[in-house]
């Protein structure tokens, strides 16, 4: 137990700290803190889902923001059409993301390495341009949501605290689920296919199926993040799906520490907080932020998670 605690202190600490946010927020500018933290948690959720692909599957998707966008647009379009029920939003978002993942995954999985990066970028961009062409829903100016998603007809998410807790709950659930998956038979095969697909085929696994399944799971989780993001922002636009957004998610995953899952959460916190604090400090914050990233790569092997747990690994 003690050993386990030693190994697990980082994820435990992370979630504890996140759980304390609503308690501590009223001491400061509450709505701002909650808004910022909700964004962090949502981005962490998206990054977490991407870590399954990159860290475990070796599949660097450069179009992951598209899934985020699908979630957001599910809320945007349904709300614009008068459907405000959160359950409906989630269902549509997840179904649409699953469809997108199956359709594009079947093609993308034919390639690997850099080609996979580029083909996912291509699909992400197609979706992005599709969204900009949706004149009925604001085109690339996007649409403002009339309000947040309702739950069973009640407006519970209108409270920033409730929205934050919902996001945190989703993050925790996804984290536990993905941890199980990573340690399961399925996860083992996925990792094996990352390291040596030919060997995997030679012992009787078809990497394609496992990768596609991982892609599907990841896309659906990202779509949930998209639903939450739309609710947090109160606004949906193609900017959510821009390739820079996909890039940012990759950076967060790598920065946090590939394949460790909690690293993705850590990465999201570090990335967004650094951005927020630095940009508050100076408009030229990027002149510091860039070198910070470089230093992080050069000196923190295994990302932030690796840096923090270096001593604790048995």
């Amino acid at each position: 137990m003690a050993r386990r605690l030693r190994r697990e202190w980082l994820p435990l600490g992370l979630f504890l700290a996140l759980a304390l946010v609503p308690v501590l927020a009223p001491l400061g500018p509450q709505s701002f803190i909650l808004s910022l933290m909700t964004r962090i948690v949502v981005v962490a959720l998206a990054a977490l889902s991407l870590d399954l692909l990159i860290g475990k599957g070796g599949l660097v998707s450069f179009g992951h923001a598209a899934c985020l966008g699908i979630g957001a647009y599910a809320v945007g379009i349904l709300s614009a059409e008068g459907v405000t029920d959160g359950g409906a939003h989630l269902a549509v978002a997840i179904a649409a993301a699953a469809f997108f993942a199956l359709a594009t995954g079947a093609v993308a999985m034919r390639t690997d390495g850099v080609h996979f990066i580029m083909i996912t970028l291509a699909f992400g961009q197609m979706l992005y341009f599709l969204a900009t062409a949706l004149s009925a829903y604001g085109g690339d100016d996007g649409i403002t949501l009339p309000g947040r998603s309702t739950v069973l007809g009640r407006d519970v998410l209108a409270s920033d605290t409730v929205l934050y807790l919902a996001a945190l709950g989703a993050l925790l659930a996804a984290y536990l689920l993905l941890r199980r998956i990573a340690a399961s038979r399925f996860g083992r095969v996925l990792e094996g296919a990352r390291d040596n697909p030919v060997r995997m085929e030679a012992i009787g696994f078809r990497p394609f199926r496992f990768r596609l399944a991982a892609y599907l799971i990841s896309a659906m989780i990202a779509a949930v993040a998209g639903v939450l993001l739309a609710n947090q922002t109160g606004f949906v636009s193609p900017a959510t799906m821009a390739w820079q957004r996909s890039g940012e998610l990759i950076f967060i995953v790598v920065l946090g520490g590939l394949g460790s899952l909690h690293g993705a959460i850590l990465g999201a916190i570090a990335f967004i907080l650094a951005e927020e604090l630095l940009s508050h400090w100076s408009e030229h914050w990027r002149i510091v932020f860039g070198p910070l990233l470089i230093l992080a790569v050069l000196f923190a092997r295994g990302g932030l998670a690796g840096l923090l747990t270096k001593g604790a690994r048995p």
Binding site: P29, G138, G234
Partner: protein
């Protein structure tokens, strides 16, 4: 009385930062010219950068309102950011003053008593070109815009007053570098005039290439947001003689404006564009309104009434607000020319609309 807090949110970093930079410089200049006070109260300015990302912008304005407790928000630069922050700001019953973006939803169905623009409703600027094309009797017009919402709005705006023949409605992808093929089409179509809306770097590319292709001397170019003082330094002499629609120009003849332009040029080593002037006016608007309320911001009704009166001397001359918070003002056709100091600027050719009211006003339900 303690200080009044103003939150300024603009796109200050990334590729599209030039406009926001102008706006900030001008706003700060205005504060200085007003002796560091608005309506007699000391001012504390909190500047935020929206990074041109809607969700970042939302967090930032929440920070301004909640953490910094600003009394009023001025910004942003771009329409899509305005779309994202308008609701959170006005829902918090904080006044939002846009120094540039003026999207149609906020003028019509989505209008808010807490929103004012010192700029214009976007369509109006494009309408200038349509009206000019019509009144000059151009028989054929070639329309060129980037393929995104603002581009579509621009083309819709031009078509409203132009009744001649549109030979082509051409949309190019956003961030197009090379207009060679468009120019070939234009040369082949031989229209009486071209209208384009090509903001930022795209406009620079288009204008340079338009000139290089030898079209500049043959086919007049009407535009909006394509040749202005933010792009002219890059476009150089290639832009000479190009037309644009505007609610203002640096050479607009009134004493305040002359002083403003001279001071801006001295300080920034560049000629101000509308983004600068509108931000300057935003500060003047605040000053005027706060003077009227005696510096108080608690009584929202009174403050709104004070804003609506627009009791200040705008750099553009007299103007009023409609009840949707958009100005009723004159619009001009401008043309790129050289200043005595050799710098380029847009210069007024003629007044096209007087006291022009935007066409979305009827949809606004505010009394």
């Amino acid at each position: 009385q303690d200080k009044i807090k103003v939150g300024l949110i603009l796109t200050l970093s990334g590729p599209a930062a030039a406009l926001g930079q102008q706006a900030r410089a001008a706003f700060e200049m205005a504060l200085k010219d007003l002796g560091g006070k608005l309506g007699g109260r000391e001012v504390e300015l909190v500047v935020a950068d929206d990074e041109l990302k809607p969700d970042v912008a939302v967090t930032k304005v929440k920070g301004l309102i909640d953490r910094d407790k600003v009394d009023v928000v001025v910004g942003p630069t771009f329409s899509n950011i305005l779309g994202a922050i308008a609701k959170p700001v006005t829902d918090a019953k904080v006044f939002l003053i846009s120094p540039n973006a003026g999207p149609s939803p906020l003028a019509g169905k989505g209008c808010s008593p807490f929103f004012f623009a010192t700029s214009y409703q976007n369509d109006q600027v494009h309408q200038v070109s349509g009206k000019v094309a019509q009144s000059r009797g151009y028989k054929t017009l070639y329309l060129l815009a980037p393929n995104y919402q603002a581009g579509k709005d621009a083309i819709a705006g031009v078509k409203r007053d132009y009744k001649g023949q549109i030979v082509e409605e051409s949309y190019v992808p956003l961030n197009t570098l090379d207009f060679q093929s468009e120019l070939a089409k234009i040369a082949a179509a031989k229209p009486d005039a071209v209208f384009t809306f090509m903001p930022g770097g795209m406009g620079v590319n288009l204008i340079k290439q338009y000139k290089q292709a030898g079209l500049a001397d043959r086919i007049p170019l009407l535009s909006s947001f394509t040749v202005d003082e933010s792009t002219l330094p890059a476009q150089g002499d290639a832009a000479l003689g190009m037309f644009a629609g505007s609610n203002w120009a640096p050479d607009l003849d009134n004493p305040q404006n002359k002083a403003f332009v001279a001071a801006y040029v001295a300080q920034q080593k560049a000629v101000p564009a509308t983004y600068a002037f509108q931000a300057y006016d935003a500060a003047l608007l605040l000053d005027g309104a706060l003077k009227a309320t005696g510096g108080k911001t608690d009584d929202k009704e009174a403050l709104r009434a004070a804003f609506l009166k627009a009791d200040f001397t705008s750099l553009r001359g007299a103007f009023k607000f409609s009840r949707n918070g958009f100005p009723v003002q004159d619009f001009y056709l401008t043309k790129v020319g050289k200043r005595p100091d050799g710098k380029l600027e847009t210069q007024i050719v003629e007044k096209v609309f007087s006291d022009y009211v935007d066409s979305y006003l009827p949809e606004c339900s505010i009394k």
